[in-house]
Structure formats: structure tokens, C-alpha cells
Amino acid sequence: MPRKIIEVENLWYKYPKSDRPALCGINLHVEEGEFLAIMGATGSGKTTLCLSFNGLVPQYFEGGEYSGRVIVDGLPAFNTPTQKLALHVGMVFQDFESQIFGTIVEEDVAFGPSNLGLDKEEIIERVSYSLSALRLEGYEKRETDALSGGEKQRLALAGVFAMKSKILVLDEPTSQLDSVGKEEVFSTVAKLRKDYNTTIIMVEHRSEEIAKYADRVIVMKDGKIALEGSPREVFNRISDLLELGVRPPQVCELALSLIKKGFSPKFFPIKEEDFRSAFPEMLIKKHHTNFDLSQDKGKEEVITVEDLHHMYPNGVKALNGVNLTVKRGEFLAIIGQNGSGKTTLAKHLIGLLKPTIGRVLIKGLDTREQTTGKLAKIVGYVFQNPDHQIFATSVKDEVTYGLKNLKLSKEEISERVSEALKFVGLDGFEEHHPFLLKKGERQRVAFASIFAMKPEIFVVDEPTTGQDYLGSESMMHMLSKLNETGHTIIIITHDMRIVGKYVRRAIVLDKGKILLDGSTRQIFSEFDPLKRCFLLPPQITRIGHELGFKGEETVLSVEEMLSRLGD
């Protein structure tokens, strides 16, 4: 019987100057060596709970209200200094950039052990032990700033691991990473469990990985634990999960829909490879679909990219001959690994970058001869992080900014502002301070500020990154609605599920070139080329592939799959 390494008893916590508690009576035990996943919508208290494990809650915040008990490895987290608890619990924060202190890798890993005042030899030994545990051998002298996202995340882990703590707490470690980075983090964590019996507590939105790696899941809502159990117990309560803002794996959605239709599985599948053995008698119906994009044929070309090359001033060649035409009303996704040139390509569409060779035409206008301000009337570019643009003291002023730059009349501006806020569902928020809004709401403010400029083409960088299920869905619904009214939509994304569900055409970038270009169905049928650039089609497509839906019969969504299974 493994011992309990963390015990939380009736924990309540209210941040200073907050009007409602962030944690309301949490009871939780974590066993040594366990992998516990914490899920839930943004603002449900996940991060606060994590901070209570190493005593930052309540010690770091002056004037909060704390009651209940947290015992970590025998120590009360309430009043044991965080520096001392650091020997037992290591915490990796969501923003990995803010927790790297060294300019070179070994210096950063040594930061924690140096703080403890250990001998030099011991520190050197811990640095190499930690780097090898996180598969970063050979990186000792590398500059931290030049690492990729996945490497930085692993470095953050290495820095914490060098403290030799038995418990690792990871707050959304993969939300900023591409699929290679995600895989790096999950496989590393699995290795730490196996080799060192490390206890893992991870806040994570990605249910498919949780189903694969976690022993136990808790789902939080409004500071309480709403659901708790093994992944299998939690993921078959789909209607509860969706209400809690958690998206279950597609295989669970599929299984539950089939159960509703009267099928009974041998067991409830939570991993894609279990589907066939759970429903061995399921009949598979052939179904005719095709790669056609006929609804977008014959329309006016709004974007023409001809032999586009781009080289940055530091000599990095980001694009090497891209040719692309986009017609009015298309819904297009640009996919590819980090560094494949997605954002570089997108920035050319609004003139933020100019071609080194080749040209880009937006409705016939050559971007080399246009300012970004002019192109902004045609192309609306929504950036990934709303906090890079929000500066005003009210939501209304924030949305007004772009319109003032367009030199519109006062009446026109106020009309457009209320229309935009209505569209994103923030009417009534005009006078709110944008910095006090939730992350998802800030994202919608940023979107409204572009919407109000009435561009006919929308370019959206990572519309769903860092958002919970409800935030992602509402963003994609807005884009679909715009597309239905004739707007051209281009998104850049790592989220293949939304590509399958919402997007009609996809292009795959690899090393600055277009590797694949076609209907989403066609792209997702090309398993091998996708694999070569480390892309994985959505889970439902993969299950379909196993069941024999290949080529033109490739499945894109759970609904599509349901129509092809039956008795």
C-alpha cells in the first residue's frame, strides 16, 4: 500500500482583495508515485490548488484567507517556508519563460541547488543527473534563450528536478507546445515515474494524453472538486464533463453515442486502440465522401501568393518558395510544426513582413506597396495572446482604437463598437476594465477590436491555444458564423480536432514550403507525409483509419463516424 504523500483536508482559500474564495473545501489525497491529473475550466481553482502544495498559497500572498490543512510529505504547507518545501515538491509554472533564470542551461539547472548552499561537487553531480533525467545531455553550455519551446519546458522541469523533490507539480506544461514538444514532455514525465518513482500532479486540458498516462483525474469547478476517479470513471460522464468545460477524448464521445443508440460495449474505451476490442461486433458501413471543395470553386481570388521567399535579417530562411491562392469565402487552416513558417506566411498577408523574393497580392493589391494600416481594412489579423494588444482602460475604448485609426465618424464608431461587442457576446461590458476580465473574455475583446474594423478576410493565430473547451468552442463558432456570411477565414493552429471539425481546406507547411494543400479530408488521409512532419490527425480520424476508412472515406468528426457504424 503506497503511502499518502499529500493530504488536503477541507481547504478553503480566498486571495487578498478578492470577493469570492478560489478554493472551497477541497479534500484530496495523493499517493506516492501516482500520476494525478487536474482538469477543469479556466478560473476553476486548478492553479491555486497547485500553489497550495508548496506553500506559495498562502505564504506568497499577503492578506489572503486560509483554512483547512495541507500536509506534504509530513510537513504542514501552511507555515513551512516554500524554500524548504521545495525539497519535497517541485513546481513548474505555466509560463516557462518566466522560470528560467540562467543564460546558459547548466547555470539555470544549478540555480536551485546553489540556493540550498550545497557543495560545488554535489551541484555538478545534480546538474548532470537532472539533465540526463530530462534527456538534455549535451545541452550544458547551450544558451537558454535559443532553445525550442519543448526544450525550454524540459529545462524548467530539469531545474526543479535538480532539487531532488519526490513530487512534481506541472501547471499546463504543454499548452504552448507543438506536437513534438508535447510528446517530449509526456514521455519524459513517464520516464521520471518509471525511473525515480516521482509523484506527478499535472494540470492539463488534453484529455487524450490524460487517458493514456494518468492514474486518477479530478475535475474542478468553482473551487470545488466536481468529479474524481480513474480516467475511465471520469471520461464516461460526458454530459457532466462538457458542462464543466472539459472535453473528453473523441473515443469516449463516440462510445457514449453508440451506447445511447443501444450498443453495449465489452468495456468503456478511453484510448483509441481500445475501440475495436470494446465494440468487436460493430458493423462498418461503406459511405461515400470525397475530397471535393466544390463550394469554394469559381469564386474570386482574394489572396495570391507567388513564389514567396522570406529571409529574416539574421539570415534565417523562413519561407522557401510558397505558392498559394485563396478564394473568397474559404475556411483554411495552416498547420505545421513550430518553425515551419506558419506565422511568417500569415504575417505577409497583412504586410507586417514583406517578401524577400516573390509577391503577395491581397485583392489585387501588392503588399510591397501597401502599409499594414491600409491592408488592415481588408485583412483582420487576430494575434494569439490578447495581452500583447490590450492597453485601454475600458472595453469600449479598446475596441475603438482601431476604428479611430481608420478615421471614422463618432456615430459610425459607436455603432460598430456595439455591433462588435454583441457579436462576441460581450454587450454590457463596455465600461468594464479589460485587464480585470477572464482570459477567454480578453481574447474576445481582442477579437471584437478586429471585427469592428470590418475586414473581409480574417487571419487568426492559434484561436484555441490556452483556452478551455468552452472558450475554444465559442471562438470556433464565431469564426464559422463569419465564414457563413461570406468572410474568408484563415487560422494557424496545432489543434487537429478543430481542423477536422470546422475547417474545409488545410495546407501543411514544412521547412518553409507547402508540403500538402487540399481539402481537410484529403490532408488527413495522408498519414505518412503528416507523420514525417510530426503531425497527427485527430483521434477520430485515426480510429477511422484503423477501421478501414482511408483515402476518400477518411472520417473527420464523431458525427461522421456515427453515421458509418451500425447494425
Partner: protein
């Protein structure tokens, strides 16, 4: 970033301890100010060129710096050439016409003084770049600690340097985001207008930095910052025999040069 950009290498100069290197740097700076004769300064400059070739620093690094400095440099040489009242007149900028003038004499002494200032700036830029390009930042930090400066101070310096590129990326992202909303940053004229145009850039950056510092503070404590008063220096600088030799060598060159200048060599009186 030109400063603090370290280019790894295996040359003697790279491997030299940070203390003889700083001694070297101080020597060069002192020499550049002791001597006024541009010919002496040319010799120092040439030695720096040879050194930068020997330590394999790509010339592009300096050229990009020179590009920024070009206009002020031309201005400095021109200013001295035109306005220094020397004896040996070469020509007049405004020649004698109808009894007016001649005005603004360009003198040999003036030109030479211009070159003196030009070489001083070039020497300073070259020497400081050579120092930072061949020395990783943690050597300087280790030196700070060796000088018994508090650990906290050394930490502040490292962290500040570490976050320069992070903040730079944030700034670029913000500028792009506001441009996409039609911000006209280049077109603004006048002090107030420029300030006004940059408010939408500065505020998100400040707020972002504050948010970041919150996480940073928590992450520091979570990694044991402040756990003990006597925290271990991971990098220690140890002087080898050769480093003492180099320090001695640099100081001897300095002493010899000071002697030269005291007996009036290279102080530029030839050109006055």
C-alpha cells in the same frame, strides 16, 4: 543585441580569465586617452584588428556597429576639421569672393584632432565588443561575486540580462498587434504625438512585465531562493599561472606607454 552576445571559441583570449581580460580592457582605454597622436592611436587600433582576427570574431559584427556609428563619426571628424583653430591652413570652406571671406579654415591640426577622436571611439567600441564577445556573461557575474558583492545583486544582473530577449520579443509582438489595428508609429510627428502613438505599445509591455515578475517571484522561491545565506557559487573563477603572466604583461605595456607619454612621445604636440 550586440552587447552581451557571446560567441564561443577556443582561442587563448577566450580561455583567459576574466580578470586579465578586464585589465587588458582598462589598459587599452587608458592608452587611448593618454595618446593624442593619431599615428599612435592607429597602432592601437591595428592591434585590436589583429586581435579580432586572431579570436575569429566575424567582421560583420563590427560592421553592423559601425553602421550605427557612421553619422556621429563623420560629424565628429568634420566638426574638428572645420572649427579647430590650427596654424597649417589647407583650404577655406568659403573662399574669398569680392572682398568677403575667406571663412572657415580647414587646418591640418583640426583634421588630426578629428582623427584622434575618431580613433578613440573606434578603439572603445572595438575593445568593449572584443571583451563581451569572447567572455560569457557568467564570468562577469562570477567576478562580481568574487568581489564580495551580495549574491542578490549578482542575481539581479543575471536575470536582467536573461530577460532582455524575452522582453524584446514581447515588444515586437505588441508592435505587430497594434500595427494590425492600423497604428501609425512611423508617421507620428512631434513629441506629444509620438508619446501618444506609443502608449498602446508601452502599456501592454508594462502590464506583461508585471505579470511576468509575479510568476518570476514565485518561481524563484519555489526553487529555494533565500533558503540559506551562504549559497554556493556554481561558477568560480580561478586564475592560472598564465593569467598572472598576462596581467603582468598588460600592466607592463601600460607602464611603458605612460612613461612614453610622460617624456612627451605621442601626445600630439607635433600637430599643434
Amino acid at each position: 543585441m550586440v552587447f552581451f552576445e557571446y560567441i564561443p571559441g577556443e582561442t587563448i583570449f577566450h580561455k583567459m580569465d576574466v580578470r586579465p581580460k578586464i585589465t587588458w580592457f582598462i589598459c587599452i582605454v587608458v592608452l587611448a586617452f593618454v595618446f593624442w597622436d593619431p599615428i599612435y592611436l592607429t597602432v592601437i587600433f591595428a592591434s585590436l584588428m589583429i586581435l579580432s582576427y586572431a579570436v575569429k570574431i566575424p567582421i560583420v559584427k563590427f560592421l553592423s556597429l559601425m553602421k550605427i556609428l557612421l553619422i556621429p563619426l563623420i560629424f565628429i571628424v568634420g566638426y574638428q576639421a572645420f572649427f579647430y583653430q590650427g596654424k597649417t591652413i589647407i583650404f577655406y570652406l568659403v573662399p574669398k569672393i569680392d572682398g568677403f571671406g575667406p571663412f572657415i579654415a580647414v587646418t591640418l591640426e583640426g583634421i588630426m584632432l578629428g582623427f584622434t577622436f575618431l580613433f578613440r571611439i573606434l578603439i572603445m567600441v572595438m575593445a568593449s565588443s572584443l571583451l563581451t564577445l569572447t567572455t560569457p556573461i557568467y564570468h562577469f557575474i562570477a567576478l562580481l561575486r568574487k568581489l564580495r558583492l551580495p549574491y542578490q545583486l549578482a542575481f539581479v544582473v543575471t536575470t536582467a540580462i536573461r530577460f532582455i530577449p524575452v522582453l524584446e520579443r514581447d515588444a515586437l509582438a505588441t508592435i505587430d498587434a497594434q500595427k494590425a489595428r492600423g497604428a501609425k508609429l512611423e508617421a507620428s510627428k512631434g513629441f506629444l504625438q509620438i508619446i501618444k502613438a506609443y502608449v498602446p505599445i508601452m502599456i501592454p509591455m508594462l502590464i506583461g512585465a508585471i505579470r511576468r515578475s509575479e510568476t518570476l517571484g514565485m518561481a524563484m522561491i519555489a526553487r529555494g531562493f533565500g533558503a540559506t545565506d551562504r549559497c554556493t557559487a556554481f561558477y568560480e573563477i580561478k586564475a592560472r599561472k598564465s593569467d598572472y603572466f598576462y596581467t603582468f604583461l598588460f600592466l607592463s605595456v601600460l607602464a611603458f606607454s605612460l612613461y612614453l607619454s610622460i617624456i612627451s612621445y605621442g601626445v600630439g604636440d607635433r600637430w599643434q
